[in-house]
C-alpha cells in the first residue's frame, strides 16, 4: 500500500464515512432495535473509540514500516474521532436528553462515567481545533506537548466505556488490551530515548569550585588557587 498516494488517502477518507452510512441506513429502515436512541448513541461512541485506537496505531506503524506521509492519516483519523465523538455528544444532549439542561446537569453530576467522557471530549475538541497547519505553526513546540494529551484522552475513553457497562466484558476487554499495547509502545519509546539521553550527558554529579590556599610560585606567600572538585554522592 502506498500511503503517500492521493488515491489511498481519498479511499481512507471515504471508508471512515461508512459506519455513519450504516447507522443512517439502520435509522431509515427502523433497524436500531427496541431502544433506538441508546443504540444510536452507543454506536456513534463505539466508532469514535475504534477510530481513536486506529489513530493511535499510526505512529507505531510508521516506526515499524518506515513509511512516509503517515502524519496526514493521523490527522484525518483524528478529525474523524472528533466527528463521531461530536455526533455521540449531540445524540446525548439533543436526542436523548432533549436539551433539558436541568436534567443534563443532574445526569452529568451523578454519572461518574460521563465525567470521563466529558474529559475525553474536551481533549479531542482541543486537538481538533489545533489540528490545522496554521495552528501547528503557531503553537510550535507546544503543539506536540498538547497533542500528547491524547494518551490521557484515550485512558479516559476506556474508563468511560467500562463505567457505563453492567454486563458483557468481552468487547471492552479487547479494547483495553489493544490500548495497553498501543500505550506500551509509547512508554518503550520514551524509555529508549531517556536511556539515550543519559549516554549523552556524562555525569549527573555536581562539580564544585573549591578555593584552596597554596604557596606562591616563588614560595614567599600563600595565595588563593581554584580547583574543580567532583561532589561526592550522599
Amino acid at each position: 500500500m502506498n500511503f503517500s498516494s492521493k488515491k489511498t488517502y481519498l479511499i481512507s477518507l471515504f471508508l471512515c464515512l461508512l459506519p455513519l452510512l450504516g447507522i443512517i441506513i439502520d435509522l431509515l429502515f427502523d433497524n436500531l432495535g427496541a431502544d433506538p436512541i441508546q443504540t444510536l448513541h452507543i454506536r456513534l461512541g463505539d466508532w469514535s473509540l475504534r477510530l481513536l485506537w486506529l489513530t493511535l496505531c499510526i505512529t507505531p506503524l510508521q516506526t515499524f514500516t518506515r513509511q512516509r506521509g503517515m502524519a496526514d492519516y493521523r490527522q484525518m483519523l483524528g478529525l474523524y474521532v472528533f466527528f463521531y465523538a461530536s455526533l455521540h455528544v449531540i445524540t446525548y444532549v439533543w436526542i436523548d436528553q432533549g436539551l433539558d439542561w436541568g436534567n443534563i446537569a443532574i445526569d452529568v453530576l451523578q454519572s461518574s462515567y460521563i465525567w470521563l467522557g466529558l474529559l475525553a471530549y474536551i481533549i479531542i475538541f482541543l486537538l481538533a481545533i489545533s489540528s490545522p497547519k496554521v495552528a501547528k505553526k503557531k503553537l510550535g513546540k507546544n503543539w506536540k506537548k498538547l497533542h500528547r494529551y491524547i494518551y490521557i484522552g484515550s485512558i479516559a475513553v476506556i474508563i468511560h466505556y467500562y463505567w457505563q457497562l453492567k454486563g458483557n466484558m468481552a468487547e471492552p476487554l479487547f479494547y483495553l488490551i489493544t490500548l495497553s499495547i498501543l500505550l506500551m509502545f509509547r512508554v518503550a519509546v520514551w524509555f529508549k530515548n531517556r536511556k539515550f539521553n543519559k549516554m549523552m550527558i556524562p555525569t549527573t554529579k555536581r562539580i564544585k569550585v573549591v578555593t584552596v590556599k597554596k604557596l606562591s610560585e616563588d614560595q614567599s606567600t600563600m595565595v588563593d588557587s581554584q580547583k574543580l572538585v567532583v561532589e561526592e554522592d550522599d
Partner: protein, 307 residues
Amino acid sequence: MIIKTTKSIPSSEITDPLVFKQRRQLIKAMVAMGLTGSGLYSDVLKASEDKAVLTPTAAEIVKNHTNYYEFTFNKTDATKLAQVLPTDPWSVEIIGEVEHPGIYHLEDLLSQQSIQEYIYRFRCVEAWSMVVPWMGFPLANLLKKVKPLSTAKFVQFTSVYDPDHMPNQKDKAMLEWPYVEGLRIDEAMHPLTLLATGMYGEKMPKQNGAPLRLVVPWKYGFKSIKAIVKIELVKKPALTTWSKSGPNEYGFYANVNPDVPHPRWSQNSERQLGGGFFTPRRKTELFNGYAEQVASLYSNMDLRHFF
C-alpha cells in the same frame, strides 16, 4: 387455568385491556356523578387519566429487549436463544420455614390461583423502562397456601440451572449461577408483588422468564427473577446474585429511587421504550410510582444506606 396455548379468538377481536379499564372507569365516573353529584367525578376522572398514562409498551419491544444473562449479555439474542429451554413440565420446590414444604408441579400450583392482568411499570437499573401487562397472581396467594412459619423473615428465589441450554451458565460467565434473588417477607406478601405466567394476554415468552417469574414493580428489574425453580422461606436475608457481583452497586432492596444514583450513573430519569426519537425522558419516580402503596414498608429506613 386461564392461559391458552392456542387462541380461538383472533387477537383483533379482543378488547384491549386498557380500553376495557378506561370504559370501566368511565362507568364508575358516571355512577359516582349520579349518586353523589359532581364532586367525585373529578376524582374518578383523575384516576382514569392516571390509568390512561399506563399505556402498555408495544409487545414486540418487550419481547425483544430482555436482560437474560444466562443466555446472552445483549438484549436481543435471548429472543432466539431462550427457545431451547425446556419449560414443560416444570416444578417448583418450596422449602424452608414453611408448614407445607414440597416439590410442586407448576400446573398444580396454578390451578389454585386465578390469573389476572396487572399493568405495571417496569424500570431497569440501566435507566430504561417499559409498561408491561403481566398475567399472573399475587405471590402472597401462593405463600398463604404453603403457610410460612413465624420464623420466615425473607423469601429467597432461585432460577433454573440448566447449563446444557444456557450458554453463559456453561461458560461460568460473569455472574454466579444459578441466579438468586430475595425479598423481605413483607415485600413478598405485598399485593403488588406477582408471580407472572404470561403477558399481553398470552403465555409468557421464554425470553421473558417462562414459565414462572417474579414481578416486583417498585424495584429495579433485576429483582424480578425469571424461570423460578425454588422458593425458600428463610430466617436470614439471601445474598443475591447482583449484590454478590457488585456489593456497592446493586443492593438487596434495589427500590427504584431517583435520589439514590447508581455509583456510576444517575437514576434521575429514564428512557421509556417505544417512544419517538424526540420523546423526552421520563422523570423517575420514587418506588417507580408505587410510593402510595409501598412507602410504608420502608418508613423507618435510610433508603440511601439500604439501597
